[in-house]
Structures are given as C-alpha cells and as structure tokens.
Assembly symmetry: C2
Homo-oligomer: 339 residues x 2
DNA sequence: ATTAGCACTCAACAAGAGAGAGTGCTAACA
DNA sequence: TGTTAGCACTCTCTCTTGTTGAGTGCTAAT
C-alpha cells in the first residue's frame, strides 16, 4: 500500500511545503529531488496519496499540500529527529550549567534559547509549587509589629508574605515558633501538609497564639495561591513570521491564546515522559489551538512533571522542533538532578 | 488667529477622527455638531487650520485628519481630563487598598485595570531596586553546605541567592554574621552601600572568612543585578483592535517594541511629578515609538520615581487616558505612603 | 462674511481579460 | 503492466479598466 516510492514522494512534498508554504505540484517534486520519473507518474502517485488521505488540494488546479493525517504519518513512520548542531548544543550547555543561581532566570533563558534556534514560540509550564517538597520555614521580624514568613521549597523557590505580630514578641520567640513548624514540616511534600496537621501545630504552640494564628492563616493562603502552574511563553513574535498568520483575525486569536494561561495548564500530560509528544492541528482538544501544532514533552523535576514545548503552524519543522525539545529536556533534567 | 469657531471645528474633527479613524469632511463636521454653518464655510476654516498645520489631508479629495501638531494644540490648550466614572474609581479603590500583600500582584492588577478601562496597553516601570532602602539581611542554612541569603528592602521586595558554606559552620554563627551586616546596613539606601564598606565588614568579621566572602560576593552580585528597572506591560492585545494596526508590518514592529524592555527604561523622566506627560507620535525620541503616543506620569515610591502610562495610536483618547493615569497615580502614591 | 453651485480629483470597488500553474485523462510506448 | 507524452480543462492571481461617491477648491451670488 505505502511503498517506498510513495513515501519518498510524500516526504518531498512535506519538505517542500514546510519550506515554502505553497502547494507543491508534480513537476516540482521531480525537479527538486532529481527523481527518475516523469511528472505524470508522480501525478498518479499523488492521486493515490490523496485518496489515502495524506494529501489534499486547496482547489482543483493547484498542487497538493500534506493533510494533517499526512503530517501525522510522516511524523510517526518516517521522521528522524534532527539533533542540535554542535555549536547549538554548546550554547545550551553553557547557558544552563553556567550560571544557575536563580531558577526563574533558567526558565527564561531556556525558553529564549528554544525560540531562538527553532524560530518558533516556546512554552514552559512549571508544575505547581505545592507539589514540591517543603524545606524550610522562617519567620523574620521586620519593623515593629510586622514580620515576614518565608517558605522555601527543595528547588529553592521561595514564597513570602507579610504578617502582623504583637509588638511585644521577641525575636527569640519567633525563632522557636519557626523551629516547631520546621520539625513537623521539613522535607514533606507541600500538598501533604494538610489542615489537620496545621491544627495540631496550633495546639502544640498554644502559648503564642497570636503569631501562630497569623502564620497559619498566611500559610494556608500561600499554599492555596501557590497551587498554580506557571506558564512562561517566549518568542511569541516568531509566529508572526509564518505566512499562515498574515491575516489579522488569526493573529488576534493566536495572541489571545498565548495570553490565556488556563489553556496551557489544561494541556494533558499524556507523555509519561521520555517521548516527545506531537499534536498536529485538530488533534489538539482545545479549539483555539486547532490551527497550530505543538511539540512538547514532560520533564521530571520539582517532584512532579513540568512541560516544555514549541508551537508552530501545522506546517512546521517537526524534526527540528522535536530534536531541540528532546535536547533541552535532557539537559534540564540533568540540571535538576544535580541540584 | 485661533478664534472660538476654529477651536470648535478642530475639536469636532478630533473627536470624530478619534472615534472613526476616518478622515472627516466638512459635511460631517456640520452634521455631527449641529453647527449653524454651511459646509462651505467650514471648508474655508478647515483650509485655514490646515495652513496653520493643525490639519492635514491624506490625499486631495479626502476629508481632513488632525496632524500631530493639531493633537498637541488640542491637548495643551483645549483638553479637559476625563476623570474615572464612579464605579471605575470604586473598582480601582477596592483593587488596590484591599489586598496589598504582594507588591508584584499590585503592579499586575494596576496594569490590568488601566488597560481594561481604557482599552489601551499599559506600562509600568518600576524603579531599580538598589535605590530603595535596605532593611534586612538574613542568612539561613539549608541542606548541609548550602545557605540562602535574603535581602529585604523597605518596600517588602525580596531578593535571594544561594551560597555555599563550610559544612562545619553552625546556625549560631550565621546568625551572628547576619547581625553584624545588619548593624552596618540597616535603613541605608541600597546604592549608598559601597564596596569600601563591604570591605570594612570583611575586616570586622575576619574569623568566619569563608562564609563572609561568599556572602559579600553574593551581595555584590545581587546589588548589580537588581540595579535594573523592571518593565511590566499589560493588555498588549488591545492595540491590535486599533485600525491603524491592521497591517502586518506594523504589528510586528509594535510587538517588537513592547518586548524590548531597554526602550522603556530609557524613557526620560521629564515629568518631575504631578503633571501627566503626553508624547504624541514623532515627539517620541525613540524611532520605534514614533508611530504611537504615550500618556504617562511618574509616581513617587521606593525612594525614587517609577513611571506608569498608557500607549495608543496617535489618534488616541488623550482625555480619557490622562484622566485614568492621573487617578491611578494618585491612588498608588497614597498606597505607597501608607506602607 | 457666508453660501450655493459646479467642475475636478482621487481612492475604493467591481468586472473582465489574460497568464500561468497544475491537473486528469487518453493513448502510445517499453 | 507500469510509465510517459500530449492536450484540453480548471482555477487562482494579477493587471487593467470603468464606475461610483465622497470631498474638495474656486467662483459668483447673497
């Protein structure tokens, strides 16, 4: 059914179409790839491929373009990921393993890197904070009557919040309160720390009621607030260079999609890991994503998985994107392990 | 030269043009404002206004549109700021004075609010951290061999950094080190803390050399890094609804401008305060901003001034924008004072 | 000083005429 | 039987042309 020659022709058409964004005709296929066939033969094959659903015609007398099913077949059965070039890999390496002080800058740079080398917008979805491990809580006095609570996770992420405290309380007291909190909570996963336990704490430290109440309040608040995945999109502008987004309505839709965090958060974590997941056009559940493709994968870290990926038009260089994503995933995971 | 009637006509044209984005003709001016004049008379006046440089014609036989000078004249001599409506003011009030736990969310919400009610993208430029007052430094031990430095400013902004420490050192020691740092640095402005003083510190605490060296290193690093203004842009998408940005090239330029932080940082702080500053089209120094207008003002806070503003097409509702900016500036300043 | 009238200009839109690219089919060919 | 040349046909794209309508500037009348 799908003999070698058909494959070759399909590949030709895909490569050509991805590059030019124009329907490709039988003549072009022969020329570009120096086939020892006449256009007429290729036409017959193309008719077959169309019947199989791998190609389609925008109108009777244009060339063919690959259908989404065509891309899917190519991706599944023929594609080979294109790994990063030597210099690209080097840059990535330097970028991440060099100066990894702040987690937020790492994310920023990684996203930047991805969109730079692929020319597609990248997205990174960080897992919710409350699934990480708790490491440390500290209450620090500030000006009279005020204190800061710091909550530190294993990854070095920090959230903090201001609370009111009685002016009479001493730094010593705050320290001992912190200590008790820490005994219970140290190295627990954030989402395991349930309200019942917090209640228990409240009993243990009955004496310093005021401070403790405030702390617990703040803590609950922090845990709630932080239970959100964070979405970082980089290089959104790249998408505007793709000819499919030359019309205003689409651009608006596209940019609206990118601003809508909730949409990304719902991205199913299909990929248990390892594999790079590819969603082509209508394969995306979310309607607003159905005019583009996603290439993404999960990465282990933070005790949970985050997601990292690229988006592009359906006509995207899946091989390059998949290669880049894979490389970045590996290095990020390695980095997180070392930490 | 600029009699009452001319003003009235100029205003008509501006209002009309701002609303429709179409050149407005003599007929329209008469109709819309029920003037007791014939189109012909208005035409004569318009010819005068054009000669004065306040109007221009896209081509011989279209209506007139206000020139940038025309807008400038209007803004300077005729415009009245339009204050927020009662419900708008209420929302703003609730938004800011309600839940002001985290400074970053305040900024986010303020920007959001501005762009929501005006339909223009808003920008907020936060002053560099190192111009705020220093409040507190704390070194906290983490896992063996690691510690966190926290640096807290008067505004509650926090920066932190991980450092390596000898495993042998005790929490006690860290605390005493923190204490010495605090004695020197407490309530100083960040930019006053010079390297010479840090050197002095190093001498005082000669014993715990290793930790102190690391701390100082990190501190220097933090002070350097934090010396940046931060730019937050909100509601960028709104701009795409303006008909002047219906063409792709402009959109790209526009979005590129918004991504380019450095550009905003260079925005001269012309406004000593109080006044709302308006830059119309080519009045902007930066070339990439010359196809749009800015309405902004400084706000005192953080011991320095930040900037807050709106951007729009030259054909923008300056009256509304100026009113909104003023209102927001006032309430933000009040908020910062209370803190 | 204002206005009516009129010829003139120019962008925007629609219709029509090629041009060009690509197809599908048929018949010839190896 | 698979491949190829030839050819009529289809459809988009582009360029041209004509038409319409809004708006102007000028002149002469009020």
């Amino acid at each position: 059914m799908m003999d070698e020659r058909k494959k070759q022709i399909l590949e030709s058409i895909i490569k050509d179409y991805v590059e030019t964004a124009e329907p490709v005709g039988s003549r072009a296929v022969v020329k570009k790839h120096a086939l020892k066939l006449s256009p007429a033969t290729v036409r017959n094959e193309m008719a077959d491929l169309e019947e199989m659903g791998f190609l389609e015609q925008p109108h009777t007398s244009a060339g063919r373009i690959p259908s989404e099913r065509g891309f899917r077949y190519y991706v599944d059965c023929m594609m080979e990921k294109e790994s990063l070039t030597e210099p690209e890999a080097q840059i990535l390496h330097d970028l991440l393993l060099e100066n990894m002080q702040e987690w937020s800058t790492v994310v920023e740079r990684t996203g930047h890197f991805l969109s730079q080398i692929t020319k597609y917008p990248s997205f990174i979805i960080l897992p919710p904070f409350n699934l990480s491990e708790f490491r440390y809580l500290q209450i620090l006095p500030m000006e009279p009557g005020k204190a800061f609570i710091f909550l530190v996770s294993d990854m070095g992420t920090i959230i903090h919040r201001k609370i009111d405290i009685p002016e009479t309380i001493k730094e010593e007291d705050l320290r001992s309160i912190s200590k008790v909190f820490n005994q219970i909570m140290r190295n627990r996963r954030m989402d395991e720390i349930r309200k019942s336990e917090l209640q228990e704490l409240r009993d243990t430290l009955r004496k310093k009621r005021r401070v403790i109440d405030r702390t617990l309040e703040a803590l609950e608040h922090m845990l709630e607030e932080s239970g959100e995945e964070k979405v970082v999109i980089s290089g959104a502008l790249n998408m505007l260079n793709e000819p499919e987004f030359k019309d205003l309505e689409r651009i608006k839709r596209l940019l609206a999609v990118m601003e809508q965090d909730s949409l990304w958060k719902g991205l199913v974590p299909d990929s248990i890991s390892e594999a790079v997941d590819i969603r082509i056009g209508k394969e995306n559940r979310e309607e607003s994503l159905q005019e583009m493709s996603l290439v993404f994968t999960g990465f282990k870290g933070f005790g949970d998985v985050g997601k990292i990926g690229l988006m592009g038009p359906v006509r995207m260089e899946y091989w390059k994107a998949a290669g880049a994503i894979e490389a970045v995933r590996n290095i990020v995971e390695e980095m997180l392990k070392r930490l």
